[in-house]
Symmetry: C2
Subunit: 159 residues, 2 copies
DNA sequence: TTGGAATAAGATAAAGAGATCCGAATCGCC
DNA sequence: GGCGATTCGGATCTCTTTATCTTATTCCAA
């Protein structure tokens, strides 16, 4: 569901998001804070910079920072350049002819499942994560049974 | 989101589901019909047999068949023995302390996303796939914009 | 201009998934 | 019991992912 690389990328991005949109952070600092192998993290951050999610600054005082406002960076922006999400495109059962009209037995089922997953990834931003966390801390302990739909509902209200 | 192995397993199981709950099918037959490398498929089917999802019969006329009623086999039953779903357990950001009360910034977000995905996998059965397909064929062409939630809703009505 | 500090980039090693092959064991049938 | 068909299990190989290392390249400050 999420490769090691994708998980590392999320860790780094959340760290940078909390760090602010202006300050540069070095690879060593991020690696130490997120418990990720430094050299490997460097590779991942390079890819994210190439994808336009991060900005890098060489030389003294340099490092990485988010390239735009947190509300404009989705989880998909972070994961897509690193993982092979194209696994979804094309029929799961390998049929050449498979669409909404002429569908393989799994088409509708898988479209529903993957659609919700990909949709959540596409619409959840780093800003949402920060917002929801603050909100969650306020209502902490109110619900014994946490409501999985709450986050998704709050996304829709954002408009 | 779904490894090659998991996809192959789904292909084979859907094929066997359509074949009926009583007839045995050989590896060569299944591999040819689903376009999966025969030797590798044999390994996968062995694992599924060990997991109790399939029953195998050696000798002439032998092969594999589903071990129980289609309504009792979920997509999770098929995928779980083959993939490392334990990637979800534990904090995505690597924090030791991370639960509903004391959560990392990603905890609630990821719980919502993965909860929907895993829930769908756990509750969708091979029978659902057959049912929904029949239903979809009946209403074919009625909706230009297919409703992703329809399948999930129909699952709940099953009780 | 020089030196220190940082990222960029490529080569490479280790680990795991994906895929293949072969011999052994098992079953039905003759 | 012997034969053919089939699954089972282990050994092996390849490819991708993960991780490390080394060498440039770039920037800032003195």
């Amino acid at each position: 569901m999420l490769t090691q690389t994708g998980e590392y990328a999320l860790r780094a991005m959340v760290y940078l998001a909390r760090k602010g949109e202006n300050a540069y952070s070095g690879v060593k600092e991020i690696a130490a804070a997120t418990d990720v192998p430094p050299n490997y993290l460097a590779k991942i951050l390079q890819q994210l910079a190439r994808a336009g999610v991060l900005e890098s600054q060489k030389g003294f005082g340099g490092g990485f920072k988010v390239a735009r406002k947190l509300s404009k960076i989705t989880l998909m922006d972070i994961i897509d350049p690193l993982e092979r999400i194209e696994k979804f495109k094309g029929c799961v059962l390998g049929q050449r002819l498979c669409n909404d009209e002429v569908a393989c037995p799994l088409h509708h089922t898988w479209k529903a499942i993957s659609g919700q997953y990909l949709g959540a990834l596409r619409e959840t931003t780093l800003q949402d994560i920060a917002d929801f966390r603050r909100k969650a801390e306020q209502v902490e302990g109110a619900d014994a049974q946490p409501n999985y739909g709450e986050l998704l509902a709050s996304r829709e209200k954002r408009g």
